[in-house]
């Protein structure tokens, strides 16, 4: 394994110190417990929004802390859910008197730790509402699994809810918008290569030189199918058809299309994916009215991509367009 680290056990701390050094104007960083907080938090009268999860998915979530998006992020160890004391500290730091929204990706550990944090907050008289995202169509949603994973939709929900909170919408309203984005969004990903956590030091699964995994999770969890690598057009058709048919998205729909890189795929390939996605949707009468292309919810150095579609209405479009000023997502501000 070759990695630009000092020691596996220092990865999180060292990276947080780097973020603090680079972006101290936007965020405050605490280390015990690890929390990244918006520099001007708590914003009085505004719903606070926090999220969190294992590290290794940068820029999610720390890169999304700032005006118009998250008020705080709780980074766990690499691919390990953060702990309730982190979420408790974040909740307290961002509570401006209007309550706090917890946006939680549907992973067993994340859900349980956030549950414990919400129980603690209830004891401290801070109003907390949790919304769990579960947009990954690769997982069969049944009683026999932990349910669908929360992936790409999480990023879009954090942006849209952040804008809603800036408009001083109530906690219930912001939570409802979060649920709406999740309900109207679907994702699926694929991988060309595995990834290597610093602690393990070796790939978490293997793929042949000529193979890809369709339906991969953001920790390298296996997907629906392993197969020979195909041209981008064919790969996009596999991902997009699974996403489109699941909701389903239909003729006349306006969508926000999010082509996300897993960390090890160059932008030039993501634009090829976007082009194929645009053609695929056009043929079906679905119009991309907003888009996001880049590495936003990554899986360390994994090569691959995911496609997320969210059905847009006027309100969601307006909230998407609203100013945002975070480390990784920035428009309409300053």
């Amino acid at each position: 394994m070759k990695k630009l680290i000092n020691a596996p056990e220092d990865v999180l701390k060292d990276a947080l110190e780097g973020m603090e050094a680079a972006h101290g104007d936007r965020v405050r960083v605490t280390y015990d417990p690890p929390v990244i907080v918006r520099a001007d938090a708590p914003v009085q009268g505004k719903v606070g929004i926090i999220s969190g999860g294992g590290s290794g998915h940068e820029p999610m979530h720390g890169g999304f802390v700032g005006m118009g998006m998250l008020d705080a992020a709780c980074p766990g160890e690499v691919f390990t859910s953060p702990t309730p004391d982190q979420m408790d500290a974040a909740t307290k730091a961002v509570n401006g008197g209007a309550g706090v929204l917890h946006i939680v990706k549907n992973y067993t550990g994340d859900v349980m730790n956030f549950e414990m944090a919400a129980e603690i907050a209830a004891g401290e008289d801070i109003e907390v509402v949790s919304v769990v995202t579960n947009d990954d169509v690769a997982v069969q949603d049944s009683l026999y699994t932990a349910g669908r994973r929360g992936v790409g939709v999480t990023v879009l929900a954090e942006k849209i809810c952040g804008a809603a909170a800036e408009e001083r919408k109530s906690l219930q309203e912001v939570a409802d918008i979060c649920r709406r984005v999740n309900d109207q969004g679907r994702s699926m990903g694929m991988a060309l290569t595995p990834c290597i956590t610093p602690a393990a030091g070796e790939p978490n699964f293997t793929l042949g030189d000529d193979e890809m995994e369709i339906g991969i999770g953001i920790h390298g969890e296996p997907g629906r199918q392993r197969m020979k690598v195909e041209p981008a057009a064919k790969v996009v058709e596999r991902l997009a058809s699974a996403v489109v048919e699941d909701l389903p998205f239909s003729e006349g729909d306006n969508v926000l299309a999010f082509v996300n890189g897993m960390g090890g795929t160059p932008l030039i390939e993501l634009y090829i994916v976007y082009n194929e996605l645009n053609k695929y949707l056009k043929e079906r009468g679905i119009t991309i009215t907003r888009n996001l292309i880049g590495n936003y919810i990554t899986s360390l150095e994994m090569a691959g991509c995911s496609i997320t579609l969210v059905k847009l209405d006027d309100e969601l479009t307006r909230l998407w367009d609203a100013p945002v000023d975070t480390i990784a997502l920035r428009w309409g501000a300053r």
Binding site: G109, M112, T145, A199, H219
Partner: protein
């Protein structure tokens, strides 16, 4: 507790490897980090209140392990701590009651059932063995049987298809692998039995 921490440290690579096969490959590392923290907390806990000690371990695990194992093991020890609050000694029925409370907490937190291929598949049979032992005066023997039941439960997870946690995404592909959570739970029971067998304190 020290034995369990040492056992976890020694088996860190093994647990992580098991977890890599069907999970995300961090169980050993996370439990090792948590148990080191728990030992620090234990050393700072004064007095002979077993409940307070167990609670300190639970809090340390909740705040340092992360993942699913943090809330689950944390809840196990917190509930056991609550059931033994104020006690400086535990007889076998007392230990059984405490473990029962812990296991019920794990069930509530994780919403798993026996046979879901989780730590419950080791803890459940161990609890059953302790219940059967009643107030047997041979405490070490009873704990030994509980550890043995946990081992059998752990080994019985191999053919199971996971229905909870990250391994459940694998569906049928999770069969043929031993569950890492059941494995660490077996280590816990095994070290408790060894501690009592050699005259140390249980828990």
């Amino acid at each position: 507790m020290k034995r369990f921490a040492a056992e976890v440290a020694e088996n860190r690579g093994y647990l992580t490897k098991l977890d890599g096969a069907i999970g995300d490959g961090d169980h050993g590392t996370n439990m090792d980090r948590g148990m080191k923290k728990a030992l620090e907390k234990l050393e700072a806990t004064e007095g002979d209140d077993i409940g307070a000690s167990l609670k300190a371990v639970g809090m340390a695990l909740v705040s340092s392990v992360g993942g699913a194992a943090g809330p689950l093991y944390g809840t196990l020890f917190l509930q056991m701590g609550q059931a033994t609050a104020g006690k400086s000694e535990l007889d076998l029925p007392g230990f059984t009651t405490a473990l029962d409370a812990g296991v019920q907490g794990v069930i509530k937190r994780g919403k798993a059932e026996p046979g879901d291929k989780t730590m419950l598949d080791a803890l459940g049979p161990a609890l059953e063995a302790l219940r059967e032992a009643g107030d047997d005066s041979d405490v070490a023997g009873a704990l030994g049987r509980a550890a043995e039941a946990a081992r059998e439960g752990m080994e019985a997870t191999v053919p199971l298809v996971a229905r909870k946690g990250r391994a459940s995404y694998l569906g049928e592909r999770s069969a043929g692998h031993q569950d890492p959570g059941a494995t660490s739970s077996h280590l816990l029971l095994k070290t408790a039995a060894e501690a009592v067998g050699s005259g140390g304190a249980a828990g």
